[in-house]
């Protein structure tokens, strides 16, 4: 199926007797955005790490544009090709950047690894512009930037590789609300411009509604519900999805009913 940019088929991963990821399958269409929602321990982060290659699946395949992601191929060319398939933005931008490297160094290092012959000055300016950072930020170190700016740098670094899919692992969870909205809008703009595919790992249903077309809901390593985001959020079929939706604070919210529903589940 060439129109799916990313496909996971029957992923399994166990740590001892704990099945962290248990038969997880999904597809991400070209230029699409898929949310993986779940609470801690649901296996959503392990799934993401398998997709990017930081963990190995015990069983199952990850296909990018119909080609299996050769996890075990060695050598520089295979490594770089793998990096151009999937890139990742991490939760904590401060920790995911080398504290010693300036913004420009971060981008240049990536560019010289993947595109040694390109015009790096121009590309660095383009990337900074694309993520809404001025050239003034180019010399700053991560510590001198605000949380939102740091996450912009992390996004720019991922985009520098020109990947087919961007995995965003709780990429806005650590940001303040007003900054989070800026980054979500930025991500929407980037997807419109570049037709890059997003795999959005999050616990926040509001964020899912805002940036994804499709969603899968994970619980204890398994997919309990999957479908178009609007449908799943409007008419959840699985009781766990319903519980998640009801748990989101809002006026007239009844935490006791939720607590009771949680115990019942």
């Amino acid at each position: 199926m060439p129109d799916n940019v990313l496909e996971a088929v029957g992923l399994h991963r166990a740590y001892g007797s704990v099945r962290a990821v248990d038969d997880v399958s999904f597809t991400l269409p070209e230029g699409g955005s898929l949310g993986i929602v779940g609470e801690s321990g649901s296996g959503k982060t392990t799934t993401a790490r398998i997709i990017v290659g930081l963990e190995q699946a015990d069983a199952g395949d990850v296909l990018v544009r119909g080609q299996a992601r050769g996890a075990r191929r060695r050598g520089r060319a295979a490594r770089l090709a793998r990096a151009r398939e999937v890139q990742m933005v991490f939760q904590d931008p401060l920790l995911s950047l080398d504290p010693r490297a300036s913004v420009e160094q971060v981008l240049r290092e990536t560019l010289s690894l993947h595109f040694p012959d390109a015009d790096h000055d121009r590309r660095v300016r383009e990337l900074l512009d694309q993520v809404g950072l001025g050239t003034r930020a180019a010399d700053a170190r991560p510590r001198q930037l605000s949380g939102g700016q740091r996450q912009r740098v992390a996004i720019a670094r991922a985009l520098a590789v020109e990947p087919a899919v961007l995995v965003l692992d709780e990429a806005v969870a650590a940001l303040d609300v007003s900054v989070q909205a800026q980054i979500l809008n930025l991500l929407a703009d980037i997807r419109e411009e570049t037709r890059i595919g997003y795999l959005f790992i999050t616990h926040d249903l509001g964020v899912v509604r805002c940036v994804t077309d499709d969603v899968i809901v994970m619980r204890r390593g398994r997919v309990v519900e999957a479908g178009p985001t609007a449908e799943v959020l409007a008419a959840p079929r699985h009781p766990y999805t319903r519980l998640l939706l009801e748990s989101v604070p809002r006026p007239g919210w009844d935490p006791e009913a939720i607590a009771a529903a949680r115990r019942a589940l």
């Binding site: 990017v52 290659g53 930081l54 520089r76 490594r79 770089l80 793998r82 990096a83 151009r84 999937v86 890139q87 990742m88 991490f90 939760q91 904590d92 920790l95 995911s96 950047l97 080398d98 504290p99 010693r100 490297a101 290092e109 990536t110 690894l113 993947h114 992390a154 670094r157 590789v161």
Partner: protein
């Protein structure tokens, strides 16, 4: 920061936040280093020139710090002795740091069987007293500065490799390392370009502390007459040569090198400890 620098308990009492002591020690380190570097141009006499008529002479305008039992100028020997006394520990520190970082990094990064093999073998070295190892190697290899330096380097390697290993273990868990892996950088690139510079200050602080200990150990060896050839001016050797003179009431030629050994060791320790404290405070 989970990694803990190895400090010998006695000397770590000298750790202090007071900055005058730190400044004095920093000055002392600079002074001793400068003396060692400039010694050949500063010495008034050939350190091995024997002037028996003047043996055991007290300090005088010609011989600033007196003359030893063999009639050699103490000031000249102290100055030139600084060279050997600092060069040896420098070799120990450089070799043990480079090799220790390589071993520790390989063990910490790769983990698994390589970690087991490397950690067990460095522990084996740990279990074996450094001085004993040095005496063993010297007795096989014979006289010369190289043998004790190599022996002590091996003895000091576990201090550095253990520290490096624990630092690398902590560092590789940090998301930025994952980020570089996802970006397609090779393990070696990540280690050398990112992990190493981030752990370097802590490792170098440990090495500075090691410098003082190596100096003391080497001085001890040459006091025992091991390692440094008989005529080479060296502080440990000078203490040995001067001990007979103490009994005759001329302590200067033995006491002075003692004082210099102690001061230099203390100075390097204070500077290293202070550096380690500052590094520890900076890293969250």
């Amino acid at each position: 920061m989970t990694a803990v620098l190895t400090r010998r308990p006695g000397l770590s009492k000298l750790r202090t936040g007071r900055s005058p002591l730190h400044l004095i020690c920093l000055g002392l380190v600079a002074l001793v280093t400068a003396a060692a570097l400039l010694a050949p141009w500063l010495v008034p006499y050939d350190p091995n020139a024997v002037d028996l008529a003047n043996a055991l002479a007290a300090p005088s305008p010609e011989h600033l710090l007196g003359v030893d039992a063999a009639g050699r100028d103490t000031f000249s020997r102290l100055l030139l002795g600084a060279r050997t006394s600092l060069l040896g520990p420098l070799g120990v520190v450089v070799f043990s740091t480079v090799a220790g970082v390589a071993v520790g990094m390989a063990a910490g990064w790769r983990g698994g069987w390589l970690d087991s093999v490397l950690s067990r073998s460095t522990e084996l070295v740990f279990a074996f007293p450094g001085m004993l190892l040095a005496i063993l190697i010297i007795s096989i290899h014979g006289e010369g500065l190289l043998a004790p330096v190599v022996a002590l380097s091996i003895a000091y390697l576990p201090y550095v490799s253990r520290l490096t290993r624990s630092l690398v273990l902590a560092e590789r868990e940090r998301p930025y390392v994952s980020a570089y892996q996802v970006q397609g950088h090779s393990a070696l690139q990540i280690c050398l370009r990112h992990v190493l510079p981030n752990i370097a200050p802590v490792v170098l602080a440990q090495s500075t502390i090691n410098f003082g200990y190596a100096l003391m150990d080497l001085a001890g060896l040459s006091f025992l007459g091991l390692g440094v050839p008989a005529l080479t001016p060296d502080w440990g050797r000078m203490v040995f040569d001067g001990q007979a003179a103490i009994q005759h009431g001329y302590p200067l030629s033995a006491i002075l090198p003692c004082v210099f050994i102690v001061l230099t060791v203390v100075a390097f320790n204070v500077v290293g400890e202070r550096w380690a404290d500052r590094v520890a405070r900076r890293t969250p």
